[in-house]
């Protein structure tokens, strides 16, 4: 998706009506608590926040020249996950012998610009996220930022994440791996 193309079309603004204050606060609490779980790699508790039919996608981005845009192929992505596949990823990252995260990096998630709308499917929530990662192999922090479009649904256990799409700002990832979630 080109940055020129309107994220707006799908942004919550315009579709649905703004949620009431207590719902808004609950949405913020959900996203901030989720960020704490991700930052502390408490992935098994994070999985509990995910709806069974979750769709979790981080599409690939491209630099386009205006007027020359073109796409080919099948909509590639960095992540295209279900709750099941995320479970396997979590098992790998937490496995005592797995190398990817064997010396855990420091992760920080700044979640900002939260907007929430009521829709028939649930709460359509947009936010900006900035991830800061410090790996043992590199003294420079790695920054990854993007826009999240989430769908949250109420469940017996509280809010659940039913859909997430993260539009990254980086077509090229300047880091050796993505051993974390956004």
């Amino acid at each position: 998706m080109s940055p020129a193309a309107g994220a707006n079309a799908e942004a919550p603004r315009g579709i649905g009506r703004p949620v009431d204050d207590s719902t808004y606060r609950a949405v913020c609490e959900f996203l901030y608590s989720e960020a704490e779980l991700l930052a502390s790699r408490d992935y098994r508790r994070w999985l509990e926040l995910l709806a069974p039919d979750l769709s979790y996608r981080i599409p690939l981005q491209q630099f386009d020249k205006r007027g020359e845009e073109r796409r080919y192929g099948d909509d590639p992505a960095w992540f295209d996950e279900t709750r099941d596949s995320l479970c396997i990823r979590v098992e790998q990252l937490l496995h005592p012998q797995s190398n990817a995260d064997r010396v855990p990096s420091f992760l920080r998630y700044l979640v900002t610009n939260i907007l929430a709308r009521e829709t028939p499917d649930g709460l359509a929530v947009s936010s900006q996220v900035l991830l800061i990662r410090m790996r043992a192999n590199n003294p420079q922090p790695f920054l990854l930022s993007g826009a999240r479009q989430d769908l949250l649904r109420s469940s017996a256990a509280g809010l659940q994440l039913a859909r997430r799409e993260v539009r990254l700002d980086m077509p090229l990832i300047d880091s050796p791996n993505l051993a974390f979630f956004l």
Partner: protein, 443 residues
Amino acid sequence: MSAPEIVNAAEAAALVNVEQGLASRRLYVDAGVFDLELERIFTRTWVFVGLESEIPAPGDYVTRTMGVDPVILVRDHAGEVRVFHNSCPHRGVMICQADLGQVKSFVCPYHGWTFGTDGRFQTAFHPKEFYRGAVPFERLGLHPVAKIATYAGLIFATWNPDAPPLQATLDDTARWYFDMFFARTPGGMEVQGPPQRWVFEHNWKIGPINFCGDGPHAPMLHGPISQMAVGESAEQFMAAIMGESPDVILGNGSAILLNLTPGERLDFIGFHPDLVKLYRESLNDIQYGLLGRMMTGVATLFPNLSLVQAPVRFDPDAPPVNFLTLRLWQPLSATRTEVWNWYLVEREAPHDWKAETLRAGLRSFSAGGTFDQDDAEAWASTSRAIRGPIGRSLDLNFQAVRGWRDDMWDDFPGPGKTCRNMFTECTEFEYLVEWRRWLAAER
């Protein structure tokens, strides 16, 4: 760092001790070696630049690099594939800054020099008479590569007018194996979209050497995820690894490693049954038999193209799914490498299967892939570990080759020199022997 920079062929050649199976660690960190590589390898070998299916229509282009030189890969309006240096013949401004696009002609943003998709100069701001014959516009088209050639939809280019034809590098032997991946159905493979791109903090050769046939790293580094996500069962996988794993020296520094399920049965694990029928049409018996028993296939085409195919499972209720990824290890500096990662699928594959195999690949071999994640941290640590004067003074060890290189699997049914298993380090070291030839200007 402190050791004198490598500046000539003789010094470079001395960095690989062919007899002993050793190479200097300077190959992985030395800026002087890197500069020589750009000059001796990337302006002279055939370099992979993309796939025909990335530029299906006239005017379609993608931007790529050969070494650190940027190029435009375009299908011209006559349908011909072209590769040009991505800089204006006037003052060097980049012609295409986007990753991909569709054009009628290329217009330089600085002074508007305009070129056809065939690279030919078309117009400047003024009519030609204005220049009074002083500017040889006929020679000022986009700077083209010396040669372009394709194999099974893969496009290669070289700056070297004296380069032997692509078939001499990607020869009968190599193609016999690569056909199992790229030419196994009548329609051939197509690309599933633009490549993922990310950056490893280590030397560009570590990846292709690993993909030549680094057997020992798999159970060690990928043990946990293999048990979770690979193939029919972890047992079957381990059996394949420990059992029949021909690792074939293809010549010219290239190699391919196959993990085969034991026994004669053709399980075609992770393949779609409809496609298996088509394999039967396109492959000979031996190829078909190998594919039927293949758990993973990993290969490197010297200098910087690799492939991997493997069946993985991320849905506990579904059978494993094979993916095929093509990977280019782009040199950025002695300790930085940009990885480009494409996914391929049979043109004839059912629509849903295409999506399935793409997801299988994304989840296992990609920047966020469960396998690549493990490699990434091990490889990245190397640059930090060996950059100092002591680290650089030590060796990279491939001495296992001395125990195996004279004892090949002579009756393996495929062509090429086949190592008896995936632990001999022979294919990895052959890559460096070839590297030495290029640096020493023997190629």
